[in-house]
């Protein structure tokens, strides 16, 4: 992290809290609120290859901008969503959270973190591990920064699983 990327401590605290909050929404299956964290063109992306450079030239495990992510979330509430019966329980463990200022266009902050997700459904426990990287945009006056998570929107959430290229059984909920 260069000096230019450093954040003041209020921003840093708010960004760390934002990613904790995001993980909690997933674990509590508050998917509508989770979707609400995304910018209108925000991308949720889980590459299928290690160090994948592009979401448009290579296949992905998940690759959905908000309008399509909304279909996935709508589907998660459908009574005949067979692939999520009984519902998937998840536990997100986020560590080594590193927030910094971003030099990307229309992105204010990046947060890099390590992620472990434990998933349980229908008698099967699965573990996933990897990195998660957020591109975030400030979407409220800075005075609101300390008041809650809603002052950032997700421009991109990328999850790089260490076994992204392994054969996977059903992935019914986002990481």
């Amino acid at each position: 992290m260069t000096r230019d990327n450093r954040l003041d401590s209020d921003d840093e605290r708010a960004l760390v809290r934002f990613v904790y909050h995001e993980a909690r929404l997933l674990d509590e299956r508050r998917f509508d609120e989770w979707l609400g964290l995304f910018a209108a063109d925000g991308l949720y992306w889980v590459p299928s290859q290690p160090a994948q450079a592009s979401s448009t030239e290579t296949l992905s495990l998940f690759c959905e901008r908000k309008p399509l992510l909304a279909v996935r979330i709508e589907r998660l509430a459908h009574p005949n969503l067979f692939s999520d019966q009984p519902v998937t329980r998840t536990h997100h463990q986020i560590g080594a959270v590193l927030p910094e200022r971003s030099s990307l266009a229309r992105v204010d902050f990046e947060v890099h973190a390590s992620l472990i997700v434990c998933e349980y459904r229908a008698g099967d426990m699965r573990w996933f591990a990897g990195r998660t990287d957020y591109h975030l945009r400030r979407c409220a006056p800075s005075s609101a920064l300390t008041d809650g998570p809603d002052c950032f929107e997700i421009v991109q959430k990328r999850v790089d699983l260490i076994n992204c290229d392994a054969p996977h059984r059903i992935l019914s909920v986002p990481f």
């Binding site: 030239e57 495990l61 901008r65 399509l68 279909v71 969503l81 996977h168």
Partner: protein
């Protein structure tokens, strides 16, 4: 335990659950189907230069597809003849010669033994040209227009005879490339389910299931139809999800075509928007013009008019020529299967045509797919349900009365028929009973 008798497992209108659940039947399938039939292993574009290799599945084995010095293809077993170690441990690479990581025996690209360290440790009976000291080669490897198939059996019908009328699916995929070649690229998607491999092949042309199994994604897509249609990056997925919501008469209108070798294809059912078989927009117009430069207008129209969805080359390959994708269905155990999806650029086509291919597989073949995930779940439920022995038979007679025998040996039926399942079991029985040479 005595060996299973396949003839007792398949009847005209029903199949015994042991065909899906008995490990002894699975072992017999490995021996009589996957060690004999022609199986797809890879594409020529994966190994363009001498010394290139990729690690591929051939039935129960992982073998090395390699380009030889004379540009021919060879499939080598990944096993050193000395102590049995795997020669390489990566999915792909390039070698000048093979070198075992254990005792450094070296072999030429074609597998013949070059050098052995400590040569003076061997007596005169050690003959470096002994076949048992060479890397074993798969006896039959053949390319059909760039698609490489192989067979563990030294003898049997040729590849073209085996492919039968379904060679047309591979032809159509190649014909759709303005330069006349395909390039495999864009990575790979791999899914796995706890169920028998045949469940995937049977489901792939079962057209009564989509509006039931995929109800949740049809409903969600309908609820968001307007927002998605406006966005070019999502309209393809929207159309794909909506297409599974056809009414039964529409599904019945999709033709099924069964080939005597166990192969099957179904007609297309993507009719609207960006996934329509023929479109009129700047990208597609450019694409059509580049095809016409190669084939002429009339032939181009014929190529684009071939509107089929899944083309199933028995026992375990699904081809979608329009979107340039292949899916290999790989049995791992009697109750465990992997599905590997790969995709191709139509060389010479506008880049945007490949976007359709990627989006097709992202939508249809990821483990997170809003379509495939529900199929995989149903396969797992079938496998668990079949473990219940209360009713040992599964019913496969739907549409039997509408099957139409054609003069060329094929059978056609409305899309709502279980013709494909019966046809696959006909080939299965022929192989499993040892009646077929394949």
């Amino acid at each position: 335990m005595s060996a299973p008798d396949p003839a007792h497992l398949v009847q005209d209108d029903r199949v015994h659950r042991d065909a899906y659940t008995d490990a002894a039947v699975f072992a017999l399938e490995q021996e009589r189907i996957f060690r004999r039939a022609w199986l797809y292993v890879g594409h020529e574009s994966q190994v363009p230069n001498p010394g290139d290799y990729v690690s591929v599945s051939l039935g129960p084995d992982t073998v090395l597809l390699t380009r030889q010095a004379d540009h021919s293809l060879a499939l080598l077993h990944n096993r050193c003849p000395h102590r049995g170690a795997c020669l390489v441990n990566s999915n792909s690479g390039h070698v000048a010669r093979w070198r075992c990581p254990y005792h450094a025996w070296t072999f030429a690209l074609d597998g013949h033994l070059l050098t052995v360290p400590m040569a003076d440790g061997y007596d005169a009976a050690f003959n470096p040209t002994d076949p048992a000291l060479q890397i074993a080669r798969v006896p039959r490897v053949e390319s059909y227009r760039g698609f490489i198939f192989a067979s563990h059996a030294a003898n049997g019908p040729g590849l073209t005879e085996f492919l039968g009328s379904l060679a047309s699916a591979l032809d159509n995929m190649v014909d759709r490339a303005p330069n006349g070649t395909l390039t495999q690229t864009g990575g790979v998607l791999r899914m796995e389910y706890r169920g028998n491999w045949k469940l995937f092949m049977e489901n792939a042309t079962d057209l009564v299931h989509p509006s039931v199994v995929h109800e949740s994604s049809v409903a969600a897509a309908r609820a968001h139809r307007e927002a998605l249609a406006a966005d070019p990056s999502t309209s393809q997925t929207l159309q794909m999800l909506l297409s599974n919501g056809l009414a039964m008469p529409q599904w019945a209108g999709v033709p099924l075509h069964a080939d005597p070798h166990g192969h099957v294809y179904m007609g297309g059912f993507y009719k609207d928007g960006v996934i329509a078989p023929v479109r009129s927009d700047p990208v597609f117009d450019r694409y059509r013009a580049s095809l016409a430069d190669r084939h002429g207008e009339e032939r181009t129209a014929q190529i684009l008019a071939v509107d089929r969805f899944n083309n199933l080359i028995w026992p375990n390959l699904s081809v979608n020529a329009r979107f340039g994708v292949l899916r290999q269905i790989q049995p791992v155990a009697v109750d465990r299967t992997r599905v590997t999806s790969t995709c191709f650029r139509f060389d010479g086509a506008p880049d945007e045509m490949f976007d359709l291919t990627l989006q097709f597989l992202n939508t249809a073949s990821s483990a997170s797919s809003m379509v495939a995930s529900d199929d995989l779940e149903i396969f797992e439920r079938c496998q668990r349900g079949m473990a219940d022995g209360s009713l040992p038979w599964l019913d496969i007679r739907r549409g039997r009365q509408t099957d139409q025998q054609q003069t060329d040996g094929s059978i056609t039926a409305p899309g709502t028929s279980e013709l494909a399942i019966r046809n696959q079991f006909s080939a299965w029985l022929s192989h499993m009973s040892g009646a077929s040479e394949l």
